[in-house]
Symmetry: C2
Subunit: 219 residues, 2 copies
DNA sequence: CAGGAAACAGAACGTTCGGTATCCTACAGG
DNA sequence: CCTGTAGGATACCGAACGTTCTGTTTCCTG
């Protein structure tokens, strides 16, 4: 999302994010406008205007607005996941060090001029909530992110890696929507603080106490 | 939001949620459709169909779709806040007991057939993110909720009541969007567990340690 | 230079949108 | 009985939508 995916692969050219090709320009313009103004509120004309292409080109390359929406979500999701996982992994350190990079990374994202929230959450928000279409796409995206976080929480020796990972995911989603509404990147600090508390609690459980899972809720 | 606001005030009749009057039926239908399918995706005709009124009536009572949207958000926001605060307060107990009722209450909401996420978040998500219109409405709503939570975190003797309250708010938002996407009320349990950890950490800070705010982030 | 693909420009399509205008019905209180 | 008012039905308006169409320009390749 607006992460610009610097350089990507430098292969061939016909890839998704090629800014030179008509396809790349359309994808880029559609991504920007869908995220900024919403999918339903963005007309075909606005997209081709920003992309500098003709309507014919869009329909030859994507066939329909629906297909374009799907292409945008797919490419943007992939780019975001690569950026996010990279932000955790790059710099090395142990699993806990990587997890602690989550919210500083999000804060950088929130501070970008073109931060418009999570495209998947937003797509679900503006469509029929009984339809599975966008919810499934969003779930698939979240599952990949969650899997990586879960790997790290297990690696750091958390008492309940899955629970901790889900809790972190909730904080991430909460921070994203709060940042979208408030436009205050500082919410990432609050979320990071909460996460630090969860890390501490999870470690205590494993290294200092025996079991008593009831205490989990009790305090 | 779908909380149905049982009985409300029983006064006069011209109030917002009167299911008998044309105004009440329009408000109810618009609320349902806006939340379920999105504001932009909901046409006037669909609203009057569900309300069983004529188009004339809608425009006589509300003047425009924009006004109707505002009326819906205002009435729904008020109803939701009354329900949510009531869910915390009703039953008594100390401040911590009240705070611990947050996520069980949310879970009940998530499990409702007509749960479609937070109308304010959704409204922001499907409109221009550079415009302040819906973001301000959403912020006002969240500020009222946050103020009540903050009152309780202070009352329970949290070391940093404001920080804790913001953290809880993030968990609430995260749980709402996660529940909207996944349709799994169980996310409320995960959020509740995280909240319990935060309660514990906040108490420790006050009763067992002296200060060292650096430790807050350190672990 | 010829030919063809790719992208251009833009008119037009049928539909739906938000909103208006006209007329009709039911029923209240004098 | 008369009349005011709240609401219902429907036809309509201009604009915008997604989509398709007819052409024109550009440029690479044989």
């Amino acid at each position: 999302m607006g992460k610009s995916v610097s350089k990507r692969k430098a292969v061939a050219a016909s890839a998704a994010g090629d800014e030179e090709s008509a396809r790349g320009r359309l994808l880029s313009a559609a991504t920007h406008l869908f995220c900024k103004n919403g999918i339903n509120a963005t007309g075909i004309d606005a997209i081709i205007d920003e992309a500098g292409t003709a309507k014919t080109t869009l329909y030859k390359l994507f066939g329909s607005k629906t297909n374009l929406v799907n292409a945008v979500l797919e490419s943007e999701g992939k780019a975001w996941r690569e950026w996010f996982i990279g932000a955790m992994e790059d710099g090395g350190g142990d699993a806990l060090a990587k997890l602690k990079r989550i919210f500083p990374a999000l804060k950088r994202w929130f501070a970008e001029e073109r931060f418009y929230g999570c495209p998947f959450i937003n797509a679900v928000a503006e469509h029929d909530k009984d339809a599975k279409q966008f919810r499934n796409i969003a779930l698939r995206h979240k599952k990949v992110v969650l899997a990586h976080i879960e790997k790290l929480t297990a690696e750091m020796g958390a008492a309940e890696p899955q629970v901790l990972a889900h809790q972190l995911a909730l904080l991430i989603d909460g921070a994203i929507v709060a940042a979208m509404v408030s436009r205050d990147p500082g919410v990432a600090d609050t979320a990071g603080l909460a996460a630090a508390n969860l890390f501490g609690a999870s470690k205590v459980k494993k290294t200092k106490r025996a079991g008593h899972p009831a205490e989990l809720v009790a305090v």
